[in-house]
Every structure is written in C-alpha cells, then in structure tokens.
C-alpha cells in the first residue's frame, strides 16, 4: 500500500518535471530536468 502511494507521489513529480521541460527555454536546463526523470521513471515502473 505505502509503495503504491509513493509511486503516486513519483508520478506527481514526474508530470510536473515533464511539463517543466516544455516550458523551459534553455536546452541545458531541459537536459537537467531530463536527467532527473530517468531514475524517477525507473522507480515508478519498479524496474530499479
């Protein structure tokens, strides 16, 4: 149960990080955000 809730929290964070990528104008900052996405997605999918 608690794991599901935490996956939900990750999903929430992910949505806004992806949103941010498309609002951000500098590519280096977009890359920074894309970097953060990687572990979050892998944990959300329970791969790592």
């Amino acid at each position: 149960m608690i794991t599901l809730i935490y996956r939900g929290i990750i999903a929430l964070v992910l949505i806004f990080v992806v949103w941010h990528i498309f609002e951000e104008e500098k590519i280096t900052h977009q890359a920074n955000a894309a970097l953060v996405i990687i572990p979050l997605v892998l944990r959300f999918l329970m791969i790592k």
């Binding site: 500098k26 999918l45 329970m46 790592k48």
Partner: protein, 381 residues
Amino acid sequence: MKKHYLTGTLCLAIAIVIMVLSSMNFLSLKDLGEIVPGPSVKEVKMLSDYFEGIQDTNMDTEVYVLEGTKPGGKVLILGGTHGNEPSGYLSAITFIENAVIEEGTVYVIPYTNHSGMTHNDAQEASPQFIHIPTQTGTRTFRYGSRASNPIDQWPDPDVYVHAASGQQLSGSETRNINRAYPGRPDGTPTEQAAFAIAELIRNEEVNLTFDLHEASPEYPVINATVSHEKGMSVAAEGVMELQFSGIQMALEPSPSNLHGLTHRELGDYTDTIPLLMETANASQGRLRGATNEALALTGIDKSYVKSQELGFLYVPYDESGHPIEERVGRHLQGIIEYTKAYSNQYGEKPVTFSNVPTYEALFLEASKEDLGGPQLGKYLH
C-alpha cells in the same frame, strides 16, 4: 513548432533511450543462473513451503535438501545472506554440487536474501556478474547487494526499529535480512523471509545452522566465527581443528545487545546452534581501489596492501590478495570441522558427509595461476 519544444523533445527522447537500455540491463539481473544438484540432493523445496506469506514474491528462494543414507541430525547452511559477499553463496553452491551426505540431513539455501541478489547498491559500483571457468564451460553467477531490492520493499523508514528488541538502526538496514531475525509473519518482506527461515529451523528441528558471510578487511570481526552462547563448546572444538588445518580463526561470542542477527536471534528464538563465519572480501570494503569482478574474485588490491602497511587492517594483506578459493575454502573447512565437533558432542544426532572440497584442496594445493576462479571452477559442474 517553437525551438524549445524541439530541444525539449530531444532531451526527453535521449532520456527515454537511456531508460530503455538501462532497464534491459537491470531486468536481466533477475536471472541468478542454474545450480547443478549434487549426488545427495533429494529434493529442492522453496522457502515458502515453510511460510506461505512469501510465496510468489522475490523473497522466495530455493532450499536444497541433501539427505544421507542413515538418519541423524540436521544442519542448515545459509549462503547469500548478503549478495555482495560472494564466498557465502559460492560456498553454499559448492556444497550442494559436491557433498555426499552419510548421516543426517543438510538443508542449503544458497540465496538467503533472494531479493538482494537481484540488484546492486547505488554508488558502490559493484560488478554485476562473476564468471567462473569450469570443465563444462564458463558459469555465470550474480554479484548482488547487502540489502533486499528496493523494488520489493520501498520506501525505507527514516529509522529501522528491530521489532523484537526495539533496537534502532539507520533506515536502510530495514532491508538487511541479517538485522531482521527472528522475523515477523506480518512484517516487511525482509522480515517475512527471516521469519520463514526461523520457521524452517523450527519445523525441521535443525540442530546446527551456518550463516556464511564476508567482511571488509578493515572490519574488526573478520576471519572469525561468531557463536551464540549455546554453540561455544562446538565452536571452540571446531576452531582448534581449524587451527590444525592452518586456518587462523578467531572465536567471538555473539554480543547480547546487538539484535536481529542470526547468531543472536536464531539462538534465542529457536533450538538451533547458530554459527556465523566471516572471510575477507576487498570488494565490499571502504578502503578498496578500483571495484570490479577481478577484485571480487582475487582480492588483489594495491590500496589494501597500502592500508595493511599503515596498520588499518584486521587481516594480513599482501600482493596475492585473498582469492575466492581461500575464502570458499575457509567456509567449507569451517562447515566440515564444526559439523564434526557437533557430531562428537551430540552423538545421538550426528551429521556426517564427505566429498566437500577442503581448504587444502581449494587453496593450499592450487597453483597460483588457478587462483581467482579456475580452481573453484574445478568443483562446479
């Protein structure tokens, strides 16, 4: 389309490619390879046979049942309590594939924390696999983690409170099965696995339990056997025999205020005599140099040679390192001698076996170029 949408899509696409490639790698770690059952293996059970709660989970693990031709006592060997201590599970596997049991029954769990074998710890840069050449080709084993896989148990609490004693440890120890004994049927997956092992010991009335570990060379309890109070006489006799075989082995009493470990809780909560053995593994140490498969197999490390010169280590260390044959040999010789000592002292329920490679066969008689895998491979099928 605006330019920053394009660049954003590009960044996201690169992230996705990285995720796909690394996912393939991480998912491949679930395959722990095959174990070839030896002559005495009568049955391969699952740990969930003793506690259903872990059935169909990543905590469930194989229990090899090796039966003798004559009745006798019962011994349990726990390998792979910590997946980053390869001599533990490689000793258990070597035992399964070679031992011929004469009297009694030996249960062997090669991967005690199965979940811990399926991932590696962040920032430890551990090798993912260990390759050992054998007569039938190269065998691949996993190199795992000290703790259960977070995908099986997450998130960690800030502080781990050991249920039976109230002892507090840092939150990540929640996933360390050797801090979870005697376990709880309604606890975390790690506590459930610990409970299943305690249940196996209670249901099968196991007399003597070995927990095979490794420690970093700078850790004070090393090249040692830790025994519960009730195992002291067996351990003392065994240590003497080990000294005769040329193995330096310290005997440490299990501290009464350190909870959750096999040598404390299995002794307190079951009738078994628990013994925990430690060998020296450079690949888990804090003073180690480059971290890779060779380090795990040979222990050759100039960083540890330097630390030895500076007096930081609790084991001798030179350019030859501590090869896997030496470490597996110590464990197997320990199992041989302690089991003999147990059978001497508890004559009504003896356990005897043969054909288990000794310290001499694995290490002392090996040529230098065979150390670091090939010599051990001669005993793997």
